[in-house]
Structures are given as structure tokens and as C-alpha cells.
């Protein structure tokens, strides 16, 4: 018995030692792009859309770029180490796919001036560190119009991840669009405090339906849970980032898609040309990043026409979602007639527009 233990011991050493001579070596010819994601890539959703955004880059550069993806990494102290490792392994361009990676990412960017960083949903900027966000609210305004066309109860429901400005401004856009069509419409919101919690998302969606909502908005949930509940209960439902129509074949209202392709390609080009500059990238309908599509065939043709017109106006700049007059939940006027909420006001927004019933978590 003792002998065989020794034998096992020796094999264990041998395996460990034989691997010791082999390290990973980075090829200096190709550009290694590191991608750090907060949720599994899956077939749909946020992380999926981010990875899809590199398709154009891969097509253009072929084998000269290599994508190194690490998915499902919680925002926290361990993410910092994984980022460091990605840099150490020779990735020169890093996509950080979640708000919570901001502070660690910025520190890393300062230490590696030869690298370029793009960071989703943040607000801090560095010389080689660009936060990027989509103007979801532009697409949401159009969705609000479509929802107003279809709702019978005049109640809309939202399942939201975190009450951060990006999501608050989306809900406001949704409310403004819907109430531009029918001012009697109200909106209820349930916050999950998670990007990824299918069980809670489903329970919340059911609660909203029980409360009378007949159009649901899955706000930044990375699973089709809310969409599936909508189909099951027979209420219209839509989501962000990538199409989930296969989970709601009859009740899918449409999708506010994010096509990161144009922005990612431009950023990688800039990095390779040596002129990448960190700045706040805030991209909407006119940049081709926010795309509303897959409209439900139940929407009346007049409304489809109206939506097309408004979309063209937003794209050309003739119309802005946050044009006054806009009142907050308490009826106070926040934006006067003829005025427009400035970018800073939208990026840091912490109030809901009139028509949203639920107060913000305080």
C-alpha cells in the first residue's frame, strides 16, 4: 500500500514539473483584445451583444486580431486580478463590460499608457480609457409610442436592474414616448438590484402583470426570463441589446438593439493607428448604435408611420427626447417649454418623469 502512495506522489510531481517548462507566450504580431464580461455570453443579451460588436473587427483584420474572452466575472476584488492577468498576458486592447470594473480598470489604464481601454456604462475618463454608453432612451421613446398603441389597461410595467441614470433615463424615455401618445398611461417599476437574476425577474414580471400591466419592459436583464413570462401571460413584452423574439413568438413588441460594431471598429482602428484618445462616448440612433427593430405586426400601421417619422427626427437632431416641458413625479417642472435637458442632466439623472408611479429607491 505504501509503495503505491509513493508512486502516485511521484506522478503528481512529474506532471507538475513537466508543465513548468511551458509558459504562455504572446505573439507580438497580432493584436490581442481582452474582453471581460459580467454575465455568461449565452445566445442573447448584454454580454452577447458586446461580443457580437467585434464581428466587424474580426472581419477586417482576420488573424491579425485575437479575442480573449473571460465571461461571468462578478464585479468585485477578484475581477481586478483577472484584469491584471489579461494585461500581463499581452492583451493590448481591453473591453471592460460592466460598470463595476471602473475603478480597477482606470488604475490599470494609468499604469499601461500603451494600452487602450473601453469601459461600458461608466463615467470616469482617462487618457487611454473611454467609457461608452448607448442612448437607450432614444429607442425607448419609440417603444413607448408602440406600447401606447397596444395597451388596454393603460398600465406599463418595467423590471429594472439597478436604479442608475442609464436605466432611469431609459424608463423616462419610455414614459415620455407612451404619454406623448396617451397622457393617461402610467408606469410601474420593480428594481432587482442585479444584472442577472432570472428567478427574481420572473417573479417581478408576474407581480407587474397581476397589478394590471399589459406591456412589459425588461430593462437590462441579461436573460429572457421577463420575455418568456410575457408570452406565457399573454402580454406584450420587449427588451434591450439583442433580440429575444424566439422566447415570445406571438407577444414580442420589438427590441431596442445595441449594435456596438461601428464604435468598436473605430476604437480598434484608433488603437492600431496610435491615436486612441479617452473620451466619454455616448452613442445613439444617429451613430447607428441604438437600433429599434422587429416591431410586432399588431402595432397599427398609422403608429408605425408615426414611429418612423419620430425616429428620423431624433436621428437628424430635429427632435430630442428630453425637450421640455417635462415634469417630475411630483408634478414639478424640470425642463421648461422650449428648453432641452443638457447631456450632463441626462447622464446623471436621478428623478423620474411624470407618469412613473414607483418612487426611486432612496
Amino acid at each position: 500500500m505504501k509503495l503505491s502512495f509513493c508512486a502516485i506522489k511521484k506522478t503528481a510531481f512529474a506532471v507538475v514539473l513537466s508543465t513548468a517548462s511551458l509558459g504562455s507566450s504572446a505573439n507580438s504580431e497580432t493584436l490581442d483584445i481582452g474582453v471581460l464580461l459580467p454575465s455568461p455570453i449565452a445566445d442573447v443579451g448584454w454580454s452577447h451583444a458586446l461580443v457580437e460588436g467585434f464581428n466587424g473587427v474580426k472581419e477586417k483584420y482576420g488573424d491579425d486580431v485575437k479575442l480573449n474572452i473571460v465571461e461571468n466575472i462578478q464585479e468585485g476584488p477578484d475581477a481586478d486580478r483577472i484584469m491584471n492577468k489579461m494585461v500581463g498576458d499581452g492583451n493590448k486592447f481591453l473591453l471592460l463590460g460592466s460598470f463595476g470594473y471602473m475603478n480597477s480598470g482606470l488604475k490599470l489604464a494609468k499604469r499601461n499608457p500603451d494600452m487602450s481601454f473601453i469601459h461600458a456604462s461608466g463615467y470616469k475618463v482617462g487618457d487611454n480609457f473611454s467609457p461608452f454608453t448607448a442612448k437607450y432612451y432614444e429607442g425607448l421613446y419609440l417603444m413607448g409610442m408602440a406600447a401606447a398603441d397596444l395597451t388596454k389597461t393603460k398600465k406599463l410595467g418595467v423590471v429594472g436592474a439597478y436604479a442608475i441614470p442609464e436605466l432611469i433615463s431609459s424608463i423616462n424615455g419610455f414614459a415620455l414616448g407612451a404619454r406623448a401618445v396617451d397622457p393617461e398611461i402610467t408606469i410601474d417599476v420593480i428594481w432587482l438590484n442585479s444584472w442577472f437574476d432570472p428567478a427574481k425577474a420572473q417573479a417581478s414580471a408576474k407581480a407587474l402583470i397581476a397589478n394590471g400591466a399589459d406591456v412589459l419592459f425588461s430593462n437590462a436583464q441579461d436573460t429572457p426570463s421577463v420575455v418568456a413570462v410575457g408570452e406565457e401571460a399573454g402580454v406584450y413584452v420587449f427588451n434591450l441589446n439583442s433580440s429575444m423574439s424566439e422566447y415570445a413568438p406571438t407577444k414580442y413588441l420589438g427590441v431596442v438593439k445595441t449594435d456596438w460594431g461601428p464604435f468598436f471598429s473605430a476604437s480598434v482602428d484608433a488603437h492600431l493607428n496610435g491615436n486612441f484618445e479617452g473620451r466619454n462616448e455616448w452613442l445613439g440612433v444617429d451613430a447607428g448604435v441604438v437600433v429599434t427593430e422587429e416591431w410586432s405586426s399588431d402595432i397599427s400601421s398609422e403608429m408605425v408611420e408615426r414611429i418612423k417619422t419620430v425616429e428620423a427626427e431624433i436621428s437628424s437632431g430635429a427632435r430630442h427626447v428630453y425637450d421640455g416641458p417635462i415634469h417630475n413625479q411630483d408634478g414639478e417642472q424640470m425642463v421648461a417649454v422650449g428648453e432641452r435637458l443638457d447631456d450632463g442632466g441626462i447622464l446623471g439623472i436621478n428623478w423620474h418623469v411624470q407618469g412613473v408611479n414607483t418612487p426611486l429607491p432612496k
Binding site: 506522489k9 503528481a12 513537466s18 480573449n68 468585485g76 442608475i164
Partner: protein, 363 residues
């Protein structure tokens, strides 16, 4: 021939040292099958797990960064486990320590006082002790099961954390995200090597380990605790207080977990946020048992667990392994280790036939 499981008279010394290697060998064997099915490179994976954590100063500093809190909490928990006081709420005690300690940089944002850090350590210790103290009170007064109480208190602590982050302590410039301001330098442990996250909080667990070793092995108080766990009746006859053991075990563990939680927010994280514990409260239970509840064993166990954790993070990047495979690998290692360790105290023996048994009795 049938086999029977029999307790050894004395633990097998050679096996104590062989066990880790046996466990590693079996894990490598089993996970190789998994990796081959996945089509991943065996060499790159094992290299990432066992060599990369030692490859650079940075990697080593990260191993030690994880080592600190694991060692600290595991040493403290082991004291209770030896006295048969099952505190599995280290997680909640960590959170309460982190919350209380964070109150100082949150309310004194501009202070650069040298007393900031010591005050935070004290508050962190108090937070953890208070939370563990609730369990001790309910146990000694109402005989409430401390396993349930400490575990449930962890869930409550998490909700208290969310309350502060979503409400009163939210960073006013943080775009409504559930987190506090970044702490000023005076409220952070200084780094041991500039630019790395490893910091001087590591000193506390090391001194604590020395203290525990002396206390448990050399002092009467430690002896009382151990006897209370091994032979409760004997302890009662000898006049050792059972309630005292509960209070001592829980308060020491609460203090350690609280300071560990404080060291996370005043160390690698630098602010109070949703995830502050990295699961140390639970991992420390594994460390305590991997180390056979012995102060020195726990040092090695904490080091070992830190290494495979850092190795796991590296395997994600270099070996392109999905995070679930990393968890399977780490789980396999622990299961094989704990099951192999059984053979230190037990052995297989051929079962005697009925005739042989009677014969042996006659003799």
C-alpha cells in the same frame, strides 16, 4: 474477502504528509478527463493552477492578499469548532465589521488623521463581535441553535449592507450606483510593495496565529475550551463553564471576521460596495477543516486554498477555461483531500468471518 473500516489507534503520520499529494494526483487525473472532453490543453491548465500563482511577485502578492483573511477567520473559527461551537456565519460578521468600519471614512471624508485606521480596526472588530454576540446570547440564554442563528444573521447583515449602500451612504457623485465614496488614503492600509494590492493588514492574521497557537497549546483557557468540546460532561465536572466557551468562541470569531471585513474595504476594495467578503466567511470553514483545526495546519491550508483560487482566476485567462470548470476543479481538490484524509484516522481491514471472530473471542 470483505473489508471493514476501522479506526486507527494513532493517526498515521506518513499519511498526514502524503494526503495532499494523493489528493492533487487524483484531482489531476479526474479533471484531465473533464479537460480532454472539453478539448482544453492539460498542460496550460495545470500550469495556470499550480505554477502561475508563484511565477511573479505580483502573483505571489495576490496569493498573500487572499491568504490573510482566510487565515484570520479560519484560525478564529477553529477555536470554536474545537469547543464544538459551530459558527458558520463568518460571512455576516465580516459584513458587519466592514459596515461599521466604513462609517468613519463615509462621515469624515476629508480627515487625514493617523487615528482613522486604528479607529476603523476597532469598529470593525466591534461590528463582528456584536453580530456574533447576538448568536452567543441566544444560545446561552435560550439554547437557540447557533448554526441556524449565525447563518440567518448573515442574510440580515447583507440586507443591512444594501440598505446603507442604496440610501444614506450612497456616493453622491456615484451616479446612484450602490456604493460609497472611495476612501481617502488615510483610511486605507498602506501597500507593502508600491503598486500592488497586498497591504500591511497581513500582519494582523500572522500575530493572531501566533496568539492562537500559544493560547490553544499552552494556556489553561485553551485547554478548557478543547475539553469542553471533546468531553462536555468531564468539563462540567471540572467546573469549566459551557456558556463561557460559547461566548469566548463566538466573540473571538466575530472579532476576527469583523477585522477581516474591515481589511477588505480598507484594502483591496477601497470603498464599501455590494460584494465585500469574496466568500471568505464560508471558505474559512473549509480552511479550518483542511488544516485539521490545528493552528499550523490552518496556515498551510489557507495558503493552499489561496493558491488554487488565484490559479483558478489565471486558468480563466490563460487556459481559456470557463468559470464553472474552475469551480469543479477546486471542488474536486477539496473533496478528494477530505476523503483521503479519512485514511489518516481510519483504515480498511479484512472483515473476520463469523468463525474467526468467535475463535478470537475464545482466545
Amino acid at each position: 474477502m470483505q473489508l471493514q473500516f476501522e479506526r486507527r489507534d494513532t493517526p498515521s503520520k506518513p499519511l498526514i504528509f502524503a494526503t495532499p499529494f494523493i489528493a492533487i494526483a487524483i484531482t489531476i487525473l479526474l479533471s484531465s478527463i473533464m479537460l480532454i472532453i472539453q478539448g482544453k490543453s492539460l498542460q496550460t491548465t495545470f500550469f495556470a493552477f499550480f505554477i502561475e500563482p508563484f511565477e511573479s511577485t505580483y502573483a505571489l502578492s495576490e496569493v498573500l492578499l487572499k491568504f490573510g483573511p482566510l487565515l484570520f477567520i479560519a484560525q478564529a473559527l477553529a477555536i470554536g469548532f474545537r469547543a464544538k461551537v459551530w459558527n458558520i456565519g463568518g460571512e455576516g460578521q465580516m459584513i458587519m465589521g466592514a459596515i461599521l468600519a466604513s462609517s468613519i471614512p463615509v462621515y469624515f471624508t476629508d480627515s487625514e488623521s493617523v487615528f482613522l485606521l486604528p479607529a476603523m480596526i476597532l469598529l470593525g472588530a466591534f461590528g463582528g463581535m456584536f453580530w456574533a454576540g447576538i448568536a452567543a446570547f441566544l444560545k446561552t440564554r435560550y439554547n437557540a441553535n447557533e448554526i441556524l442563528v449565525t447563518l440567518m444573521l448573515s442574510s440580515i447583515a447583507l440586507q443591512i449592507l444594501y440598505f446603507f449602500l442604496l440610501g444614506p451612504w450612497k456616493d453622491p457623485m456615484g451616479f446612484n450606483f450602490p456604493q460609497t465614496v472611495m476612501f481617502q488614503d488615510a483610511a486605507l492600509f498602506p501597500p507593502i510593495i508600491f503598486g500592488f494590492r497586498l497591504n500591511y493588514s497581513l500582519i494582523i492574521p500572522i500575530f493572531f496565529t501566533i496568539f492562537v497557537w500559544i493560547y490553544m497549546e499552552k494556556r489553561f483557557g485553551g485547554f478548557q475550551l478543547t475539553v469542553g468540546g471533546l468531553a462536555p460532561r468531564a468539563a462540567t465536572y471540572a467546573g469549566y463553564s459551557a456558556n463561557g466557551a460559547v461566548w469566548k468562541s463566538l466573540l473571538i470569531a466575530g472579532m476576527a471576521a469583523g477585522i477581516a471585513g474591515m481589511s477588505e474595504v480598507a484594502g483591496p476594495i477601497g470603498q464599501l460596495q455590494r460584494s465585500v467578503t469574496s466568500g471568505y466567511g464560508y471558505s474559512a470553514i473549509i480552511v479550518a477543516y483542511l488544516g485539521a483545526l490545528h493552528p499550523l495546519g490552518i496556515v498551510f491550508a489557507a495558503l493552499f486554498l489561496s493558491v488554487i483560487h488565484i490559479g483558478g482566476d489565471y486558468a480563466l485567462v490563460t487556459a481559456d477555461l470557463p468559470i464553472s470548470s474552475v469551480h469543479i476543479f477546486q471542488g474536486l481538490l477539496l473533496v478528494t483531500y477530505l476523503s483521503s484524509y479519512t485514511f489518516v484516522n481510519y483504515r480498511f481491514k479484512p472483515r473476520k468471518t463469523r468463525v474467526e471472530e468467535i475463535e478470537s473471542r475464545l482466545i
